[in-house]
């Protein structure tokens, strides 16, 4: 294992893409875990903590595969704990603040639906490791959609206050949904190699599902020209939120490198 072993461009793009998948899950998992012990009721505290664990578990699988691709002695922990914000490739949506329960629910819903249709494609992709990780994850994601969409409907079509809060959450998060479907350089490359479909492909399905649930929740759908966001989280350009997440998540490994307990 030589640390500076050159890796060819195609492996490199697959490596970047694997990190992107992992980072999405790690950051959203971490965000959700911030609710642990603070959930509105005990049962929902556990429910959201379970989802956080599912997401971190999926992230670990992808990081382990990324370490295998990199083959320079990196481990899953290297990627999670020793990279800076500009090296993270997660979409901006998952790093947004928890806000109130409604915003957390909506963020989970918008992301889970995206993840569902994306993983349905990845499950059939030519990379066998990614195919098997996503196949296993799909069962978990199916439940995440069920759980979060019930809450979106319950709150959207609930009281005047819950409806107003969901409206507000929709307003805050809608500027980050377009990024999901704007391919990053590595997504274009691996789509070209036939490993994965272009993310534009899943946009229509995502929209259809999200629209159906929002309609039931008596909430307006996000308008097409909502995208005022010029950053690309996928390419390592992040909102300030990610820096705060990382400074907490990585503080132990940064202060005591290699520590175990």
């Amino acid at each position: 294992m030589t640390p500076n072993q050159p890796i060819n461009i195609s492996t490199n793009q697959l490596f970047n893409y694997t990190l992107h998948l992992a980072d999405n899950n790690l950051i959203l998992g971490h965000r959700n875990s911030e609710w642990t012990g603070h959930g509105p009721v005990l049962e929902q505290d556990i429910a959201l903590s379970n989802i956080a664990l599912d997401l971190v578990g999926q992230a670990r699988n992808f990081y382990q595969y990324a370490a295998q691709l990199k083959n320079d002695g990196s481990t899953e922990d290297t990627f999670a704990y020793l990279r800076d914000a500009n090296e993270f490739k997660n979409v901006l949506l998952v790093e947004q603040s928890n806000g109130d329960w409604g915003k957390t629910i909506l963020r989970q819903f918008l992301f889970s639906v995206y993840q569902y249709y994306l993983y349905q494609q990845l499950e059939k992709c030519s990379d066998r490791t990614i195919a098997s990780i996503t196949e296993k994850a799909l069962k978990e994601i199916t439940y995440h959609i069920r759980w979060s969409s019930e809450w979106v409907i319950r709150l959207g079509d609930g009281t005047i206050e819950s409806h107003a809060r969901m409206n507000n959450a929709l307003h805050e998060l809608s500027e980050f949904t377009d990024e999901l479907f704007i391919p990053a350089s590595y997504e274009i490359e691996i789509a070209r190699q036939g490993i994965m479909v272009d993310p534009v492909f899943i946009n229509a399905r995502w929209r259809e599902k999200v629209e159906a649930i929002l309609r039931e929740a008596t909430l307006p759908f996000l308008s097409e020209d909502n995208n005022k966001q010029s950053l690309s989280g996928k390419e390592g350009q992040h909102t300030e939120n990610l820096i705060h997440i990382l400074s907490e998540m990585q503080s132990l490994q940064r202060a005591y490198p290699g520590c175990e307990w």
Binding site: P40, V41, L42, E43, Q44, I46, A47, N50, W147
Partner: protein, 124 residues
């Protein structure tokens, strides 16, 4: 003596307890205390019967089902869930214990151990 009174499922005076007991009205509990209580029954992979595993709060049957999944099956405990709203469970009164159960104490003849079984009958 009254302090030691044990409540059984179905006769827990929920409304009264939540209004008066400060331990139940902590932060965030107001919402859940207003939600009805549900009894949860889980059937394990091996078992044929659903066993009572505990209770939880939920606004409706669907939420009770999802909460039960998240609270009681996260360690592979089950393959089937029943939820029953607690108010539909009618429990016997512990004060009736003497008249309900003691009379059976001296009626051993109710056990099927006094019959001579024919030799042809196996596996009994």
């Amino acid at each position: 003596m009254n302090l030691l009174k044990k409540f059984y499922y179905g006769d827990l005076p929920e409304q009264k307890a939540s209004a008066n007991d400060p331990s139940l009205t902590g932060e965030g509990r107001e919402g859940a205390a207003a939600w009805p209580l549900w009894e949860i029954f889980i059937r394990s992979k091996q078992g044929l019967d659903h066993k009572h595993v505990g209770s939880l709060h939920a606004t409706d049957a669907q939420m009770a089902m999802e909460n039960a999944r998240d609270v009681y099956t996260r360690r592979q405990e089950g393959v089937s869930i029943w939820v029953v709203e607690s108010r539909h469970v009618h429990a016997s009164n512990p004060d009736d214990a003497e008249s309900f159960y003691d009379p059976a104490n001296d009626k051993v003849y109710r056990h099927p151990t006094f019959y001579d079984l024919p030799d042809e009958l196996k596996h009994m």
